[in-house]
Amino acid sequence: MEHSNIEFYEKQLSTRNKTRERFCDSSTFIRFLPLPLEQQRRTERETFPQPAGRPASLVVKERVCWYPVCKPVSIFLKDKVQNSNGRFVLPTSGPVPYGTQIPGLIRMFNYNGDEVKKSEFPNGGNYTSPLQEGSFDLYGGRVLKLGTNMYSVSRPVETHMSGTSKSSASHAKENAAPNPLAKEELNLLARLMGHLEVKKTTGSESGFRVNLFSTDEEEEEAAILRPSEFSYQFINIQATQDQQSNEELARIMGEFKEEDTVSQSPCSKGDDLLAMMDGL
């Protein structure tokens, strides 16, 4: 019986995942937003509890007919921004909108416009000062989250998932705005380990000097061995080529390569780097 329940929703999802149109079934509107199917099944089981002893498929169809209002099931459920009955949470706390005062103050005036009395009342909530107004220019801080990508934030996976959850969680993390300096450092590290293609850099930044060798003499030796056709400004580290000539570097490279796994996707490259750095 459970199977027919899931099949019912799978059919709806496959047609409706392409568009996000409202779906009308008899007198109701239900909107399905794309969710990983596994999560969708669990969410549906939670929001449509099955009373004992009745065929699940019938119950599902009955419940579809009962709800007379829009019941979109969306990712907001996980964020606790939406309740399981579909209603959105309206908190009586947090910042008031720009242009609104925190409720609680009454000011009374006389005919001359002078304030003659002030009183306060409990506002029944926990409101804070308004945030600054968002920018209306072409580029500028918007302050609000309205219009941003609601799928870009990583979420702790509440529903129990088997096996593949780890990769999807780290994939989502990657979308958080990276620190550009950290990104550059990781790129440099990856380049050094030979995972990324060797790129010509535009010259070392002022104030930053990398010495991979334990002594300056070794650095000079490597500089002598560097092919002369490259101009002096470029730092071109070809770890694979120099492996034979520099034993120390070869040894370090060998230590890295033990845990190395060959993979093509950029996502797992990031994984490997992080895992290796954790292991060090």
Binding site: T92, G104, F109, G124
Partner: protein, 338 residues
């Protein structure tokens, strides 16, 4: 102070429109009528005094005097005149007037809809009755004009008597003086999307008494009581003004979100406010005759969890009971004083 009663279920939910609840108590029959607007339909419920019996009726928006329409209804409100009570519906196409129980439509007025559709929406909004020097019903439009209809004591011979052009933004609400005393000169106040308020004296020719300028925020709901203009704004503030001089009596930081509905109980001076922040608040207005100052104090707050309030009305002139509607909520929530 107030206790929540059993809600009245309605056939469809409430749309997120300003002042989306109208209540007509009929004391002699021990009945209360409620109307709630949803898309192109008005749900009307009549509730018996004991709260046990309900009867439902649905009114549709029209295009012309007969054809049903899918155009949206913006507001529904009863207009109480000395000789009769009319139920007025305003939509994107025009104005429909019914007998008070919604049984017969007595009048249809089509709005001027431009041939080529423009950026601006066309609709009517803002309904109030004026009873000094004749019986009138005022209805606002999205162009800012206020249409004044002259209403006969009975029958369908309703005529458009005047068009008032002082607003430049869509009218949001119109209110009539609710105190029974005859001493107050101002009869009608109209509010618009920009926050401008106009105070009028009713008659064969309506006279503009005062314009209260906007302070930067839309005014969604307005009431008039004992010469005091009570205005609710999108900033969540309620302001009290003197109707004749425009002087600000009081400023209340009342709500954390947009105010959608206000109502005044004329016999007690209680004020009801409902906003998108899910809170309904009761206030008490008092006027001291010697100092001519107006005071307002907060009395009570009710929280309707996770519901954007879009309609709030007292169910009797004393304010001992009130009802509330919420966006996408299929019930009318009622409270009575304990």
């Amino acid at each position: 102070m107030y206790r929540r009663e059993k809600s009245i279920q309605i056939k469809s939910s409430a749309s997120a429109l300003y002042n989306n609840l109208s209540v007509l108590p009929i004391a002699e029959k021990c009945l209360t009528y409620f109307t709630v607007v949803h898309c192109n339909v008005v749900n009307m419920v009549s509730a018996s005094g004991d709260g046990l019996n309900f009867s439902h009726r649905q009114l549709q928006s029209k295009e012309g005097s007969i054809a049903a329409s899918s155009s949206l209804i913006i507001q529904a409100s009863w207009c109480v005149l000395p000789s009769r009570v009319l139920l007025v519906l305003t939509s994107q196409k025009g104005i429909q007037m019914y007998e008070s129980d919604g049984s017969i439509m007595v009048y249809w007025h089509a709005l001027d809809i431009p041939e080529t559709p423009s950026d601006e929406a066309v609709f009517a909004r803002g309904i109030a009755a004026a009873t000094t020097l004749g019986h009138y019903i005022c209805v606002g439009t999205s162009s800012g004009s206020v249409l004044v209809f002259k209403i006969p004591d009975k029958g369908a011979n309703i005529i458009l008597s005047e068009v008032l052009e002082e607003h430049w933004d869509p009218i949001t609400d119109i209110a009539t003086e609710t105190s029974s005393s005859k001493e107050y000169i101002a009869d009608i106040v109209s509010a618009d999307d920009s926050g401008l308020l106009c105070i009028w004296k009713a008659g064969k020719d309506f006279k503009l008494l005062k314009k209260i300028p906007a302070y930067g925020c839309s005014c969604s709901s307005v009431k008039l009581w004992c010469g005091i203009v009570i205005a609710g704004y999108g900033s969540g503030q309620i302001r009290l003004y003197d109707a004749l001089s425009g002087v600000v009596h009081a400023e209340v930081n009342a709500h954390a979100r947009w105010i959608y509905a206000l109502d005044i109980a004329p016999d007690s001076g209680k004020l009801l406010s409902g906003a998108e922040d899910s809170l309904v608040r009761i206030w008490k207005l008092s006027k001291s005759p010697e100092s001519h100052t107006v005071e307002i104090e907060h009395q009570h707050t009710e929280c309707v969890t996770d519901v954007q309030i879009c309609g709030a009305k007292f169910c009797d002139p004393e304010g001992s009971a009130f009802a509330v509607t919420g966006y996408d909520l299929s019930e009318i929530i009622r409270y009575t004083v304990v």
